[in-house]
Subunit: 348 residues, 2 copies
Amino acid sequence: MAATIRDVATAAGVSQSTVSRALSMPELVNAATRARVLAAARQLGYQPNRAARGLITGRTGNLGLIVPDLSNPFFSSVVKGVQAAARTSDYSLFIADTDEEASAEVELLRALTQQVDGIVLCSPRSPDAELAEVGVDSAVVLMNRRIDGRPSVTVDNADGMRQAVEHLAALGHERIAYVGGPRTAWSNGQREQGLHRSADATGTDLVHLGHFPPQFEGGVAAADLALASSATAVIAYNDVVALGLLSRLGMRGVPVPEQISVLGCDDIGMSAMTHPALTTVSIPKREAGRAGVAMLLALLRDGAGAAAGASAPHRELPTQLIVRATTGVAPPTDRRTAGGQSTKGSTR
Amino acid sequence: MAATIRDVATAAGVSQSTVSRALSMPELVNAATRARVLAAARQLGYQPNRAARGLITGRTGNLGLIVPDLSNPFFSSVVKGVQAAARTSDYSLFIADTDEEASAEVELLRALTQQVDGIVLCSPRSPDAELAEVGVDSAVVLMNRRIDGRPSVTVDNADGMRQAVEHLAALGHERIAYVGGPRTAWSNGQREQGLHRSADATGTDLVHLGHFPPQFEGGVAAADLALASSATAVIAYNDVVALGLLSRLGMRGVPVPEQISVLGCDDIGMSAMTHPALTTVSIPKREAGRAGVAMLLALLRDGAGAAAGASAPHRELPTQLIVRATTGVAPPTDRRTAGGQSTKGSTR
DNA sequence: AATCCCATTGCAAAGGATTGCAAGATCCCG
DNA sequence: CGGGATCTTGCAATCCTTTGCAATGGGATT
């Protein structure tokens, strides 16, 4: 049905090879011939068949992206960055969502690997060991996860937490609660480390409330624990969780930030729009997506094998605290546990 | 590098054709031979090269999905439905985001068309005419848009609006404002029609506030107009816009639903989580995604050409009003414009 | 004028899988 | 035991491009 290279060749009165060259290595063919070929190609609406090309060149012109949850605004932003970068480089993008299931990751990785030239694996939940054995043959860039010897793009989570803790400490908070994300999320580990270090450095207490699903409901569930912890500030694993916190706090009539300060992470669009607007550690999501693709393409250019060697490229993007309205000066000591009293939980 | 069908053939001591048949038409080959082939294939980790297969069969095993904005929760839900359905049918999915730009649609459609067997085009913003000339060669299922002679999946927007208006009328509202979505969105037109019809039927006034971007900011911008319109209830094009409305109303200190009721559309996850929780017209998003894929696959099975004929399949999914907390009885007449007084705009 | 070079172009071989056709084997029935 | 039907299996063509190699022809050099 569609025009093939033969049709173009016939129409232009040349051989297939000449058509092929006219299109992909223009300097090798005579200007006049090239013009004739291009005209014929345009007129027939010719577009090279990517399957056939892929068959012989061994490259597909496709990239893959695997994320834990497309409906998480953090990931949609990353996706947009990846998408934009892929498109400007003339690559098409396969996107797969694992629904936060670690087992789906390797499976998808395997399924995708043969149809793409490279994969951006975003925030993988699988243990290092499983990840290690996959994707050795195709280029894979890890995002939000660092494994020795593998290319990766990360953000400086620890520094973000440092900014957050210092901000809170400066406001007089002495006891800070952390609502943890998935145990399997590398970035969660990073944040906890940064948190502990900064808490020590500033001499503030850090109470870890546990691990919660990185969703709104997770925050809702954590809110009461936060209140009962007698902390005057809560840092959430991400903004969505922070929104959940805010929601439950509002429901219980706890004024934010008067009684308790709330701080998120990611800076999703929604965060600026709540009341009060959420103070958060901003992550350059789109930029991360773009960087991932850039790294992938560089890998492909230099030969994927080369990168498997000792020096896997790594890029770390900065984070930035955005102070909005959910953080304020710590309440005077006597008011500290006032709001939490309605629940009969201990203050610990 | 990877094992090819030849390797398997050699290992199993049969010809390539036998391997091919053993894998894709098992009943045609002797049980013993088949077992031998399968063993060899498994042992070598053989996976058929999709490009090569696609070259000869003319099918890629891929589907495409085009949406206006991946970061809109409505679309992420649709994506999830499409994704799930595609995966269970062993298709891979290309996803493209047009960033709400109509021109990107045809472009992407064209680019994608050669790499996929079929495309789900979700909520296209392009005019009918442009859409008509594209994708005649590959199967395209329209979603949230109906064009004669083209397969489509839609939801019963008009009925959703009927439910909304009747709900409000029953609560005593006599003047309802509508915050319109993009002029180019088919579903917006449908909603307006349903709105007018139901307003007439119930004898309520309908005031159209104009067209706004289908984002949070759109709702923020529309809130003041709504207040000034002296309507006692506002229906928003979608939930995200409704959230924007709520935010701005909150900022102005207008109590919802005491002074004004707010009603959204889509039922995105967030809607149930706001305070007060948003009354909305729920759309079966995932189901729509699944239905789109199902239709696409049916089309492919029956030969895409056949469907181009007179009877393009169409499926309309129901909508369902979900009453939550942002709608309440209309305020008594004397209070009607009270809250709006702080702005000096007229009550019209 | 003979030689050599270079630019340009065509031939034909991949690349990996599917599939129509035909051949060989097996089996049943008369 | 012969003939036909039924299973199995292999051969070889085909899908569309890319690309190494060779051939052609003209121009420049000696």
